[in-house]
């Protein structure tokens, strides 16, 4: 089965979104079925592109544009593979006809346990004389203590055209956590970034028969807020009315600096977030903020309790895994083979309320019950979502919602345009952190090596008046920053009128969640 024009292209801006994306695409490949008796329920062609690699072999790579600083690629080569062997100096001299060549070697990151095993396995397979080597990869590799970059988490190869880096020549002396969206604008406009970006995106688009839409994951508190906003402009220009789901992601900051530095950072974080929300609600179909923190902006450092997960929120590697699981669930409806007619815009339609693009995402992951002998309303009552949107508990009034349930037969539930059920579990990739208590693992084997874990899951994308708690908080915090008095590094970047305009637009968004608007 081909994608039949249901392709979704994913764009990831910044370190955290790339972590989420790495887990997300790992989950996809974990879900591939090579057993014709157990076909996957999800049409993988939606997210993946079939092609040939440079060496001529079959390749199946994410329809993805990953944007990050060049120096953050870490173990990932621009070929899309982790750790490649560079050609020898003599070969290079030969090719380039250069007489003298000075080699400048950047430090090589150590290989983690997973990559070591992959390497062992592939060299064992290549050696025909070796005895049948029964070396299999382990079920789980928890990389929490060693992981430095999202590239180390990837279990899937990327297409070289997915890797769209901000070149080092544009990032000298850049302090990302304190950067502003204006810096993002400047980088976006610079041809040494922009030419690559446009080329790579249209390369992905050209391979799509009828693209149904985009997932845009972005850090919203720093320069990426500016880049993703420009990107949204571009997408609307090039792709008209296609669906866009924007996921602004809040960073995990380590507060080790002095009070003044924290205040400066907070100030630019808030302004960037304001610009991100105001532009993305204008240009996207849905905006679902993600954070594992239950409160932001200096109000608290508590992480959301996901009940059925045991995780460390302060670890980007672990928090991003939770977000990826959530994204996997909420993006299930428009990828199901069983429902070929469902597209992203059906989900948008289910959730649409005038003026309200901002929605809350919640999950019950893993879903704890093995059997469901109650109806859907009872299910939603018994299993309250755990929210990924700060300040918004997703508990009381969910005005509209789109529900995904994985791991149970759809025949058990009445059909509804807002309920998407699939019998396939979510398979847990090997480099997913060890945060799932084993009692929820539904794979029927306890082998240490080999099998992947499997869990069921529930998610909801909710358009709710509760979102007002989030937007009101943002308005309140933005008001607290006296625009006239803000530290010079921010005021240098922004003109007063644009700040005022942004404030008004955030207030307007907030007002659309008033109860009176709904009555």
């Amino acid at each position: 089965m081909t994608s039949q024009g249901k392709e979704v292209v994913t764009l990831q801006f910044g370190k955290f979104p790339n972590f989420v994306g790495a887990h997300y695409f790992n989950i996809q490949t974990a879900g591939f079925s090579f057993n014709p008796d157990f076909p996957a329920d999800v049409n993988h062609d939606v997210l993946f592109r079939e092609g040939k690699s440079d060496s001529g072999s079959f390749s199946y790579t994410p329809r993805l544009i990953a944007v990050d600083l060049e120096q953050s690629l870490h173990s990932l080569s621009k070929t899309g593979l982790n750790f490649v062997t560079p050609p020898s100096t003599s070969e290079v001299q030969d090719v380039t006809q250069v007489e003298a060549l000075e080699v400048l070697q950047n430090p090589q990151p150590p290989k983690n346990e997973y990559f070591e095993d992959v390497e062992k396995q592939s060299s064992a397979q290549e050696n025909p004389n070796a005895m049948q080597v029964d070396l299999l990869l382990k079920t789980k590799y928890d990389l929490s203590t060693t992981v430095k970059s999202w590239s180390e988490v990837l279990t899937v190869n990327l297409h070289p055209r997915s890797i769209t880096m901000i070149p080092k020549t544009l990032s000298s002396g850049l302090d990302v956590p304190k950067s502003t969206c204006k810096t993002g604008d400047d980088i976006w406009k610079n041809p040494s970034f922009n030419d690559d970006f446009e080329d790579n995106l249209r390369f992905q688009l050209e391979a799509c028969d009828i693209v149904q839409g985009f997932h845009l994951l972005t850090e919203c508190e720093n320069l990426y807020s500016g880049m993703s906003n420009r990107c949204l402009d571009y997408l609307r220009d090039e792709c008209g009315k296609k669906s866009i789901l924007t996921v602004p992601i809040f960073s995990l900051n380590e507060d080790e600096e002095d009070g003044l530095e924290i205040r400066k950072r907070l100030c630019s974080n808030l302004i960037n977030t304001g610009f991100c929300l105001s532009r993305s609600s204008e240009l996207s179909d849905l905006v679902a903020p993600f954070s594992t923190l239950s409160e932001l902006w200096g109000d608290g450092k508590e992480f959301q309790d996901f009940k059925t997960l045991k995780y460390d929120g302060s670890s980007c590697y672990q928090s991003s895994a939770v977000m990826a699981a959530c994204l996997e669930l909420i993006s299930t409806p428009y990828r199901l083979k069983r429902l070929p007619g469902v597209r992203m815009n059906n989900v948008n339609e289910v959730l649409s309320l005038p003026g309200r693009k901002l929605v809350g995402a919640g999950v019950v992951f893993p879903f704890p019950d093995v059997k469901i002998d109650y109806d859907i309303l009872e299910l939603l009552k018994r299993h309250k979502y755990r929210s990924l949107c700060p300040f918004v508990p997703l508990e009381s009034t969910l005005d509209t919602q789109s529900v995904t349930l994985r791991g149970f037969p759809h025949s058990q539930f009445p059909s509804s345009p807002a309920l998407f059920v699939s019998s396939c579990n979510v398979r847990v990739p090997r480099t997913f952190p060890d945060i799932i208590p084993h009692e929820y693992d539904l794979s029927n084997s306890a082998l240490y090596y080999g099998r992947l874990r499997e869990v069921s899951g529930l998610s909801g994308l909710c358009n709710t008046r509760e979102m007002k708690a989030f937007t009101d908080k943002l308005v309140e915090k933005l008001r607290q920053i006296n625009v006239g008095k803000i530290s010079s590094f921010v005021s240098n970047d922004f003109e007063r009128p644009e700040l005022v305009e942004m404030m008004e637009s955030v207030e307007e968004i907030s007002a659309s969640y008033d109860i009176s608007m709904f009555l």
Partner: protein
């Protein structure tokens, strides 16, 4: 802190002196690492990333940033380099060397008790005087092949092996000349109208200039023609991709029949568009030997492709934005945003359009155009790193040609200009009319002298990289320029002997030298007047 400073100005002085020392040592450090990159004999670097990617380069800006600088002074210089590169595309190594040398020269005066302010004032005077002199040194040129070859050659030879550089020199010059319209000013010359396309394969390694366009994609339909002769070209930016026009939540629960009906009505809209193309094709092609090619910036879905294929039309989807403009310049016609009221006037024409498959990649050549004003440089290379190196060099080469046309002239390279400026400044210091500018008791003189001495770093480093003795080479150069009475005498990197730069075709861009002098003075002065360092935005570099 500030209060202490007021009471005890000595404390403040120590703090400043320390910061100054730091700045100077940082700049010296950069000079040491960047030295080896200057000129055609600078050593090529192979940068190996942690993941094993390699990049072959000699570009000052790239190398500087690859060092992942943390030091604020160094990162200020690095950002200035990027700004320099964005503005002119060249001269970044020279600039770093010059900034560092200005600081070094000042250092000795400052330790003798001269106030930094006196030096920076001297710098300003020297810069002004040099910029005037540069104007005189400029060798005028016309936008002709023989005038432009030297500048392109000098640029490319600093980045590539000589044989390769010489081959690309002609390509770069010819490419710029084909898009150059003498009626317009050089500023309007849009280098984007030269497409740079790369093909990676082991067989062929020679890069070429294609008089037309090469697109990096092909048609997506198995039965579309792969080759079209005498082709009308329709360039458009109109979606031929089915989109659900109205959202209907009950959509997927209807019967198959109902669903088909709905899909059909939504499709009709797109089909009408496709039919308009087919109509036009029939109108212009029927009964002739002409073919028809559609190149669309937006998508074309499989059903639309199918309809077009049935009519023998070749269609490409999701073409680069820029190719809309390029196609119009290469083939004539005009890109359309709607098919309503479309006439054959919008069509372009190419003698031949064909697809070329290379592994996973497809390329479409649009060639044999009457008088293309947009062309393609096709790089053939055996490996990505080689392609990248050539691509960078071509970009620099094209910029240098464009700069030369815009400037209406070039400057002698190989140290000749620097030497001429050096002599100019020494004479200026002697001349009576300079005395009035040199401040009370001529206290700015040291700055001018420091500036003049600093300029010599360029010929010196060029000599060192060529394996010659810097002092001896400079002495020879001086003698020879005096004898010849011109300021065209530079320095032959191979022999270490003085040569005439015009004869040897070693030319540098006027705007690059100019920008380099200006920016170096601004940055060096900022670093000398420590307190003002970080406050100076880079915007002040733009003239």
């Amino acid at each position: 802190m500030a209060a202490i400073g007021l009471l005890n100005s000595k404390a403040e002085y120590v703090r400043t002196a320390q910061a100054l020392a730091l700045n100077i040592s940082a700049a010296k450090g950069l000079q040491d690492v960047m030295k080896s990159n200057l000129g055609p004999k600078g050593t090529m670097k192979m940068l190996v990333s942690g993941s094993g990617d390699i990049r072959i380069t000699k570009d000052g800006n790239i190398l500087l940033h690859d060092m992942q600088i943390q030091h604020p002074t160094a990162s200020l210089i690095a950002r200035a380099c990027t700004a320099m590169d964005d503005m002119t595309g060249d001269g970044t190594t020279t600039m770093v060397l010059l900034i560092a040398e200005l600081l070094k020269q000042s250092d000795s005066y400052i330790s003798e008790g001269v106030h930094p302010r006196a030096i920076t004032e001297g710098f300003k005077i020297a810069r002004q005087s040099c910029l005037e002199k540069l104007e005189q040194l400029k060798l005028p040129l016309t936008a002709s092949r023989e005038h432009l070859i030297p500048i392109a050659k000098t640029s490319l030879r600093t980045k590539l092996a000589p044989k390769l550089a010489d081959h690309l020199t002609e390509i770069c010059v010819d490419a710029v000349l084909s898009i150059y319209n003498p009626a317009q000013s050089g500023n309007e010359l849009d280098l984007h109208m030269i497409e740079i396309m790369a093909m990676q394969h082991k067989m062929e390694c020679e890069s070429k200039l294609i008089n037309g366009l090469v697109l990096d994609h092909g048609s997506r339909h198995p039965s579309m023609p792969k080759k079209v002769k005498n082709a009308y070209i329709l360039t458009c930016n109109v979606s031929l991709e089915y989109e659900k026009s109205e959202v209907n939540s009950g959509f997927f629960y209807n019967t198959a029949e109902q669903r088909d009906k709905m899909v059909k009505s939504e499709r009709d809209f797109i089909e009408q568009r496709v039919n308009k193309i087919i109509e036009l094709k029939k109108k212009v092609c029927n009964g002739t030997d002409k073919g028809f090619v559609v190149i669309n910036q937006k998508g074309i879905d499989p059903i639309s492709l199918d309809m077009l294929a049935k009519e023998g039309i070749m269609a490409l989807r999701r073409a680069k934005r820029r190719n809309m403009e390029r196609l119009a310049l290469a083939c004539g016609g005009a890109a359309v945003n709607s098919f309503d009221d479309m006439t054959e006037d919008v069509l372009g024409y190419a003698g031949s359009v064909y697809e070329h498959v290379l592994g996973e990649n497809k390329f479409t050549f649009v060639v044999d155009c009457a008088k293309p004003q947009s062309v393609t440089i096709l790089i053939n290379g055996p490996a990505q790193y080689a392609i990248k190196q050539i691509q960078d060099a071509i970009r620099d080469g094209l910029r240098s040609v464009k700069n030369a046309i815009t400037d209406g002239g070039v400057l002698p390279g190989a140290g000749a200009t620097e030497l001429a400026l050096y002599h100019h400044l020494l004479q200026y210091l002697e001349s009576p009319d300079s005395a009035t500018q040199m401040g009370v008791k001529g206290r700015f003189r040291v700055g001018v002298k420091a500036f003049a001495d600093a300029l010599l770093i360029i010929p010196k480093v060029l000599a060192i990289n060529g394996g010659h003795d810097p002092q001896e080479s400079i002495t020879q150069l001086e003698t020879e320029s005096k004898l010849s009475g011109t300021s065209l005498i530079g320095f032959d990197i191979n022999t270490g002997r003085p040569v005439n730069t015009v004869d040897m075709e070693i030319m540098d861009n006027y705007c690059v030298k100019r920008q380099c002098l200006s920016s170096s003075v601004i940055i060096a002065s900022n670093l000398l007047l420590v307190d003002e360092v970080m406050r100076a935005g880079l915007s002040s570099l733009k003239q």
